[in-house]
Symmetry: C2
Subunit: 224 residues, 2 copies
DNA sequence: TCATTAAATGTCTCAACGACACTTTTAATA
DNA sequence: TATTAAAAGTGTCGTTGAGACATTTAATGA
């Protein structure tokens, strides 16, 4: 008889704040790796969860009180080396949220924190979480080149410049405002609002996501 | 204490034969769904497998004696409804192989068979395998638009026409020979062989994959 | 009033794909 | 041996959507 391996989920929740890409990390309070920073995740519980996506959302709620705007499966990581308890399997999700939406809750607890990527590079993380974050980052970057997923890092009202900055932060390259506006128009996802934002000098048009929008995939990547 | 759910893997192994896209199916001999066709998969065994990818390869070997040319994680399917035994989780891989490479072994057993997609649509499959196949197909089609993955359905030597036919079979749309040749050249994956194939009238140049090739992703999709 | 600055738009060029006509090759057949 | 048909492969043009860059618009403050 085969016993099922320990099955967990992990979330890589990204946000962008002030031109910095951040990942939500939680401090572990139990062994193994107690005291180290790790991704917010946990054990899949067949008694309460209707699916593993359900587990992912539950863990984000329990550990940081947040509900992401976007959640997608990344991939499964497994092996004997990733956990001292032996062979384990973790289903990893990556998710996006606006900084403002999550800020409050996270500041009330001291074991959850937004951590920038350079900081992560210097930390000693639990399990293979550093590797997982890098894979998630790569996927997010790739997806940013052919879709509008970065909007899920924005508040409900935003300007083209806000969107541009989030995209540039994620892919770490400048893009043409013109190219972005073409995509905003072509996607049909956005709606102009009767309001302008005084971000800089000339007031910028505010946009919101349409009520029933489809997330569009473009046929070309942004390139450089 | 939480008990881990039953964890399985399933493979959607595709091949193209004579202009028909086929999926490898195996007949179940145990409950549940005994006697029905299903995807070749099974239970992850921590005692023998070093990773879930390892499980996927092992199951393809055991059930059909094949070693795919390409294997990639699709996604995880989970829930209470997909298996009468309760909450289960299956990690699905999709894979590609040349028809010739697999033909022999599969013909020696009567519980493994290549099944075309129209046939699958009419069959009653075990679990949620019909849905899984459709998701895998969608992914394969998408990937075919921006990469050269279909080469993994070909034998070691092949012509441009062979490649063209495989691509057209997968995406169910005709493509321009010229566009394909541009991509073959741009990819740098291919090498002309000192040999020609007498497929039709004029003999066609044979190609092979370079010894150390990288699978290239193009920045645009093929379009119509 | 006018300079400044950022938002928004207009125009140019470039790269890659689709379309399609055209040339080349080779086996079958007259 | 010449002809022909079909598939392999090439040349070229139009389209599309990207980046680059200039221009116009609008708000602010000197």
């Amino acid at each position: 008889m085969i016993t099922s391996p320990l099955l967990t989920i992990d979330n890589v929740l990204f946000t962008v704040h002030d031109g910095i890409l951040k990942v939500l990390m939680v401090k572990r309070s139990i062994e193994p790796y107690s005291g180290l920073w790790s991704l917010p995740g946990g054990i899949v519980d067949p008694a309460t969860d209707t699916s593993t996506e359900d587990t992912a959302l539950r863990k984000l709620r329990e550990k940081a009180g947040v509900k992401p705007n976007y959640l997608e499966q990344l991939e499964v990581f497994s092996g004997h080396d990733r956990d001292p308890r032996g062979f384990t399997v973790t289903i990893v999700y990556y998710a996006l949220i606006g900084y403002q939406q999550a800020e409050v809750h996270i500041h009330t607890v001291d074991d959850a924190e937004w951590v920038s990527l350079p900081q992560i590079a210097q930390l000693n993380l639990a399990f293979d979480h550093k590797k997982i974050i890098n894979v998630a980052l790569e996927r997010l970057r790739q997806k940013t080149l052919y879709s509008m997923v970065p909007v899920f890092c924005l508040p409900s009202l935003f300007t083209i410049s806000d969107l541009k900055q989030v995209i540039e932060t994620i892919i770490e390259k400048p893009i043409q405002r013109k190219s972005l506006m073409r995509r905003v128009e072509a996607s049909g996802m956005f709606e102009e609002v009767d309001e302008k934002a005084a971000t800089g000098k000339r007031m910028a048009q505010l946009y919101k996501l349409k009520d029933n929008f489809n997330i569009v995939n473009f046929e070309r990547n942004l390139s450089f």
